[in-house]
Symmetry: D3
Subunit: 223 residues, 6 copies
């Protein structure tokens, strides 16, 4: 029977770095061909931001008229978040306004969300940085979403910044980027990444003692 | 009779943030369709930079030969600046050299300019950051403009980073972006933005007390 | 007989800034048409990073299968570095993985390299920033190069971020960008840049005393 | 009382060319600043295609899951078309599949539609060209829209290839591009374009008799 | 035991169109998520070009120095082609020169190749069109590959214009685009595409008799 | 003493193709590093268009206000053309309007110009194709230049679509692209291209008799 993903897995992940997880997905489990890494154009809002948690997804699209009930999908989505969730949303390429902002960050945190990854725009960056809410984003801008971008669906499979994300997948973002770990292999991946972490420390120790990178690669078979 | 824009308006604006001003332009005055927000690709040179003031515009274009009198338009423009001005200039897409730099920042500040917004490139970033001159820019590079980019006109209507700017419009830039407020409505816009600022504080206070975003939106009709 | 480039030239350069060197290449030695400035899209990994040294070049290209001997070219290249070298490498446009990272930074530093300029992706940014190794890069991402990018040749002429680089050219990168100085004129260029540095100080001093930029340009003929 | 737009207006337009209509919108009616010309990246599927008629709009967006009822919005929209309509639709930037194709062209023509302008992809180009249905499009590709692109709304204001389009606006596309004429000024615009057409013939006649372009511009004040 | 792919399969494919094959891959065999369709930016050199056959792949990359033996990989690759092959090659994003041209088209045809799909540039377009060799390409330019682009490997798995291609996969290109059919399912796919072709004819026949698209979709469940 | 370029050189060039000229510039005269080939994004307006002649250059830039004397630079430039000239102009990246069109084509032809190469937009394509005036262009659109694009200088060195062009350089465009041949080597280049043309015929003849491309390359040392 499958082991359940619990909060401590997210905490263990936070001690690692995203490169390690990518390497393990690549090499140990044959995921090289799969699309599980977001574009390098998604960046943390501030240096040191780290996010780990369970994907809660939303699909937003460009629109050109004000809806009858503005923000309806957005508000429903925020109020549906649960502890351990990470918001993962896409604006489907629209960059003329931001889905994300300060009030949503506050709302999401009060529901227990651990951060947000949005292929789009955020505003209220000063407030978000002040509350240390880890937001990963494509860009920053002041325009509101009303009449420009609408959440048309949530809690469904989406493609976000080039990566496929299913609700419940484990999200890991740090200063190197954002990785999506399929939920049914997440526990194994974290364990393997922890093992690789040890090897890298030894490799680096060897370099510090004067070994060549070729010698260390020969010994540890990693880079 | 129209109220005159004075320096204290710029100081009031500095206490707000650009998102608020965009919302007011959108909702209260029906400006949603208008092009008054610069592209999210224009970024402040350093975190915390804020600029407010009156637009003083310059049009620069790519050239491929050294002019007879190098820098002529650029020098004239800088020496024409007045207290309260914000430089707003475009390089018309050329990214191989920078119009802006340290000496121009020093020159502009000595004429009383409050900052610069350039759809182009700046250099001398260390010096500019050292003097805390708020520069908003598309990119950073070391090459000089001579024989590459020329100011062909100034103090005229231009399109800068997607936004139309008339000389005298009120410019507001912060970490979320740069907004252009038409001068004849600027006083009203600032007042309305101040009012919306209060509502947002209350909305956020409600979230902190455990309200859902839907409840707060229902009460304040803002997001 | 040509004067030899020694380490102290790199130290003199570090006291200047890249804009000065570009101006001297442009004006004094007629290099304006030449391609010696890298694209503004190459940025230092952290503010304050400065790199000077002798170019050691590598050519990497996108691949789609794992090589028989993974990382072979990369390891050879790192182990061939010598004191005073600056790594200059291109990923030939591939942005789906990073050639550069923490272990290579450690390895390069232990060989005596003074920094790295890579038209591509780095990972392990936290570790690299922690060791203050000056890396100039197009982007940041967590994916490893194995099966995605291969070093196919090194120590040869390459085009990196729009600039032609020959092994042995003098590389200078700071917060304003990266410049390539052909090795046979490097000593002259540094001397001329030092002279221009003095003029700029005087120009700026004049502005601080209230002169117009036009007056100062008239006196010093520089901008 | 406003004159009603009838089919013969579309036939008169077909004898003109889009450049003339743009000039009239620019000069005679002060529309220069308005966004009524689609991007030059929208091209006719075959040389000689001309479309005129009344805009019937549809908004499609990228999706990543198959809807419960596939194609629902698309089918409703096609079956709602009326004689004189021109389909105007946007895929909101998604280029991985095509909204348009051969069966929709046949369906639209049987409802009386006069052509289609889609900021997106079409397939079945051989069949469409065979039936001489004027399609203006951003690109060509073989993939179907199911699970990739969905029509979420129709008969509403949209932005298509940079131009705002209201249902009922007059659409004019030829080998030079696609123009949107607001419906309440369409009759005046066509009349003025017909007048300018005469002047251009005379201008060209003058050139053929050896006049300079400056002389002819002096006489006709047009170019 | 698997049925062998023979030349007549290629001839059957030529009677269909690429959209049909995409639909079958999507719906009948669950390939929707897979990357088997090349970018819409790959276009046939002339209208009416159709290519079907077995993929023979080559990997070319940008270089900046003339190789010791110019064109070596390219010549080897062309001389290795066999009857039924379709050249599938990528220039890895380099667009400053062309891998493909008139002499290679002649050489390839004399080896029995049925066409070429190159994510890159071709030259000698007049000659190629004169000999009716079906070339699918990203762009057209006059510059030769020597010292600019090198074939570094051939007959291996590559990514070409966004699609993964294994040697031996079945390639199908027509005016709508280029599709890659994995070789072990190619025979089934062609049979299913032939069946769907019949349904589409009936659907279209219904429309011509006045049915709505909704009625025809209800009956045939295809679009 | 230098031989003068006469009309018959342009006629000899027309019998060759641009690829040949690029090869000769590359190999015989060491021009590989130089920028003498325009971007592949510049295309002939119609298949079969060929242009040869002497460059007459114009520099146009984006503007945002109507000039006091509209079209002044444009009209002066057209009226200054002489027999044998080819218009070479750049819009400096602006794509929202076209410098070129039908009346300018008529005017240019009446002055004796042999064609036009514009890094920008043309309109009136039907008329231009009707008069068989060879226009090479980046795009097609209906909008006029007034208040959008201005000719600010002419008969000076410009960069056009990535290639440096001096007034008087020999321009050669065909379906493969556009090449700029510096005027002082043009006569030699044409002669060498004619010689290479013969070798290519023999190479192709060999292939038709069954030789491999490797054998033919071994014999002729060209590709």
């Amino acid at each position: 029977m499958k082991e359940k993903i619990t909060m401590d897995l997210f905490e263990r992940l936070e001690k690692l770095y995203t490169g390690l997880v990518c390497d393990v997905l690549d090499d140990e489990l044959g995921f090289r061909k799969n699309v599980y890494i977001m574009s390098h154009e998604i960046r943390p809002l501030y240096f040191g931001a780290v996010v780990t948690g369970r994907a809660a997804t939303a699909l937003a699209v460009p629109v050109y008229t004000e809806p009858a009930k503005p923000y309806q999908g957005e508000l429903e989505f925020i109020d549906s978040l649960e502890p351990g969730d990470v918001v993962v949303a896409t604006q489907s390429g629209a960059m003329n306004a931001g889905l994300w902002g300060g009030l949503l960050s506050t709302g999401a945190r009060y529901r227990g969300a651990r951060g947000a990854v949005v292929d789009g725009i955020t505003r209220d960056t000063k407030a978000i940085m002040g509350m240390k809410f880890p937001v990963f984003i494509r860009g920053i801008g002041p325009a509101d979403s009303k009449g420009r971008i609408d959440v048309i669906n949530h809690h469904l499979r989406i493609k976000c910044a080039g990566a496929w994300v299913n609700p419940g997948d484990v999200i890991f973002g740090d200063n190197d980027g954002v990785v999506v770990v399929p939920q049914d292999i997440a526990i194994d991946i974290v364990r393997l990444a922890e093992e690789k972490y040890e090897k890298e420390k030894n490799f680096e120790g060897g370099l510090r003692k004067g070994a060549t990178v070729a010698e260390m690669f020969e010994r540890y078979k990693i880079l």
